[in-house]
Subunit: 342 residues, 2 copies
């Protein structure tokens, strides 16, 4: 079985995006706008079929851990109420997709973050998504300001009430920013990768996982710059008299495989222990084209994993399936219920 | 000959750091403070000998392109006058080092940047350093705010007057931020690498090098996250209908080798054309210890280059020497004058 731990709903019906435009134009009278539109199951099917569903089939992947479009979370737009309404609608859309295609998608939720608003404000929506909608994780934005980085580091007690709930519910978080509104940062070309690198370094310099030994984070986009600079991080931890990175972080921090060329995946699998790597493609996402050097889609990351020299069948199984089942215990239980024979 | 293109003066005499403390405490009455202290040549020698000089000898590198400590530039501290005074003093210290050890060090200057102050304000100091002190390049900070990223992208016309002067003087810039005052970012663990990634993506989305075909930038720390995500960048450029990265950027953008493990250097040299890689170690810098896995200093990057499989002697010569001579034409001319036999 191949589990893609990083999929966003980027083939959403236009009506959803239109609602968002009207919401942002409305000065937050969102509740009323919400009544005025609807999306049929057929529209959902029509847009998903040629996108994520086709690519899953073509690439031979089985199930995607699926969350709302990350760049559209837009936590910096409007206020906490704007974010609450938009987040609920986006998560409900994920629930509809999962209900239509329960074998292809499993839900992960966006959180109703807003700059300066304490993270405990997200707990009710997290509980609703996990307990009522069957979601197995959440996306946590370390920078709700959209590129100005005004929130305390992820290791600050500011975030602890949310972490307590995540631990209680047994759900991990993928660290994922949304669109940048800072002209210095291109959303998918630098802001996403910078956030990954930033979060890792925050974890490295803190004792967060002493306080929360079972809290788990997935750092997407192959961990930003981290595996490429693994020597730098090992050395910095040593200079700071921190424990080795394996002891300090690798029971709690995982990297996905959204790295769109063979050399990058080779490096990732060489320097990061195989138990900490989760298969992912983020399709349909940041890079949509075909690599003229290979003739395959840049984001067809399964091919790179398949081609890593010296990776055993057992290692591949961990990356494709086993690690995701461990990091997302609720996913594991859902899969066991859905596919008792597997 | 081995040229290390990325060295900072991190063994500076304490009096220099003490001056900075007093300057920042003084409310900018810096001119007066500047009279009250002095540093002898012996103090400079005593601190350099066991640090950069010893390591150059031990590692068999010949000359370092040497600039003031990057984290101490502190462009966000005080105002434009603070930055002007501090920058002049730091650059003068580099000139003293170069005058004492002209075969070991060649100067690169810090610029007197300050948040919101137009870059043309840096031109006088750049001209002084290049024309009067014999420096061969400059360090350009894309984020003088120290981690809040409030300046226009490096591709904005805001920066053009400085670029015109750089082109006229035939000096490249290393893109290098200073210390982060944003608690989200660790200075050397995330802010530096994020800045590298950010600058590259700014270049990718602009036509800066159509406007300045001979302008050259070195992106340090192995290019941040860029080589690890080279497929992502190739794919994004293609999706955006930009030219291939080699045509778009690689006549103007270079990467150094400050990547502190073998797997990282192997990736760098595999995906980035050898003509765009400049040897560097940034010693004594972000990582000072010895890697227990190899028994060698993490930042002894010469060993990694020596050990890259399949790199020809000609390729190594380009990385160690030839590319630096091309990117820094003033360095090349100085070396020819200093060592006519070489």
């Amino acid at each position: 079985m191949i589990i893609d731990c990083h999929g966003h709903y980027t083939s959403e019906p236009r009506a959803l995006l239109d609602f968002r435009k009207r919401q942002l134009a409305s000065g937050n009278d969102s509740a009323e706008i919400a009544q005025t539109w609807s999306i049929s199951d057929d529209e959902i099917r029509e847009r998903l079929a040629p996108a994520q569903l086709r690519l899953q089939k073509e690439r031979g992947t089985d199930v995607a851990i699926f969350s709302p479009r990350a760049s559209a979370m837009g936590h910096h737009l409007g206020n906490a109420d704007t974010s609450r309404v938009w987040t609920k609608i986006c998560n409900d859309m994920i629930h509809r997709v999962v209900s239509l295609y329960p074998k292809n998608f499993i839900g992960v939720c966006q959180l109703p973050q807003s700059p300066g608003v304490p993270p405990e404000n997200c707990i009710a929506e997290l509980e609703r998504c996990v307990n009522d909608l069957g979601f197995v994780g959440c996306n946590l934005n370390p920078d709700p300001s959209g590129g100005y980085w005004k929130e305390p580091p992820l290791t600050d007690r500011w975030w602890y009430p949310l972490y307590e709930k995540m631990v209680e519910l047994e759900v991990p978080a993928m660290v994922h920013v949304t669109a940048s509104c800072n002209p210095a940062f291109h959303t998918t070309g630098s802001h996403y990768l910078n956030a990954d690198t930033t979060a890792f370094m925050q974890f490295l310099t803190s004792d967060l996982f002493t306080d929360f030994p079972t809290l788990k984070f997935i750092i997407p986009h192959g961990g930003g710059a981290v595996p490429y600079h693994w020597g730098r991080y090992r050395g910095m931890a040593q200079d700071m008299k921190r424990p080795p990175l394996t002891d300090l972080l690798l029971n709690n921090v995982y990297f996905d495989t959204c790295v769109y060329h063979q050399a990058g995946i080779n490096l990732l699998t060489k320097v990061i222990p195989v138990d900490n790597i989760l298969f992912a493609s983020e399709m349909v996402g940041a890079v949509k084209g075909i690599d003229p050097e290979t003739g395959n889609y840049f984001d067809d990351t399964r091919r790179y994993i398949d081609a890593v020299p010296g990776l055993s069948a057992g290692d591949r199984q961990k990356i494709f399936e086993g690690n995701a089942r461990k990091v997302y215990p609720r996913l594991n239980r859902q899969l066991a219920r859905q596919r008792p024979s597997a």
